[in-house]
Symmetry: C3
Subunit: 168 residues, 3 copies
Amino acid sequence: MSTTILDRPVEGQGAISRDEIRDLYDAYYATLDDVRLHDWPEFFIENCLYRVIPRENYEAGYTLCTMQAESRGMLKDRVTGLTRTQMYAPRYYRRFPTAPRIVGEEGGAVLTRHNLLLVQTLIDKPSDIVMAAVCHDRIVRDGGRLRFAERIVVFDSEMVPNSLVYPA
Amino acid sequence: MSTTILDRPVEGQGAISRDEIRDLYDAYYATLDDVRLHDWPEFFIENCLYRVIPRENYEAGYTLCTMQAESRGMLKDRVTGLTRTQMYAPRYYRRFPTAPRIVGEEGGAVLTRHNLLLVQTLIDKPSDIVMAAVCHDRIVRDGGRLRFAERIVVFDSEMVPNSLVYPA
Amino acid sequence: MSTTILDRPVEGQGAISRDEIRDLYDAYYATLDDVRLHDWPEFFIENCLYRVIPRENYEAGYTLCTMQAESRGMLKDRVTGLTRTQMYAPRYYRRFPTAPRIVGEEGGAVLTRHNLLLVQTLIDKPSDIVMAAVCHDRIVRDGGRLRFAERIVVFDSEMVPNSLVYPA
């Protein structure tokens, strides 16, 4: 069973442990909750795939999506655009992920899945849910740390919420 | 302390480890989120008790509940009914459980408790909460895997949400 | 790395393990969900700091907050006030914390951070979110068990929700 292997990483051979995966997600979501956007692209490898896609398209096999980036550079461009327009000022986001589930391994990469609830709070209004999603991620060791090689955020809607200008 | 015992399952004696319990819940909720309803009854033993009950009734000791099944066969009947009417088509559900807490052991069974947030997304509408609940489960080893001998979902409401046609 | 140390508590020296921290939060949130308010102050040391504060004030370095207690006695007074007025009768609260992240250690204390979603259900109404927050806690061993030396609940709003008469 793959998880057993993962629980006993072989020293010096780059196996990925459950604890490391947990630490990766903790750091990733804390970075986004704290709106440290410039740190966000560093969680991805250079030739990453980042995609936010409605569930209906994902399940039908369409690639038409709300946001896509095919490199870390594209993620950085995204951040530059966001920080220039300052659209994120008058609202807060907070992320509530479930515990990551390890669903497979492929050539040194670990495949995980978990649910994500994105909660938005506008100033002087009650909090509400802006996105309920499942994340399909591919995690690899790169440059001495774990990074996302692929992150597909599949959200339960046909709508494109305004909030999707922000990373998930 | 029971959790210490559970962390060190005795080989060949069928003790239940924390990791196995985590895997059970991961698989259970992924099955429901993916609407693989025909797989759902397999998570229960043949003579199971499955009950969805309002908090007020539960705390008062009443057994009057929104849904009850007293065998795996009754769960299968439920699935047959659901898939025939196709009521689940125009909306999505996603489940956000907290980590399961082990609260006791009884003759080879493990008793757990965790909270469950059930989020509904109608097409072209924002997501909302359809149920906030606490789950009281009894887990046993049966037929080479873990299954629920008992699952009591206690939800914080007097209302019977429409959504309760779907399993929780 | 501190988490490695914490995973191997030294017997008899009072180091704090990840499992103990998890157990502390499980018990803490179950106590509040079950409205066992008289047990709540026991989760804090005598000279604790408990604070519920809007994110804007917290990030600006202001200490102006919605609720503050500087001792276990003040928490007990709070409970007495709440149980007398019976304000908590016609609604339910349920807490959805993310897994606690260990962010540091200081002289035997463990510093943690996690997100908290507080969901409210009024009788005959659908559930909604009453608070999205991040908790910055300082945990110590005190009197043979873990307790909070400090708990700062930073919520994403400028508003003071009615619900904050209840502990978080």
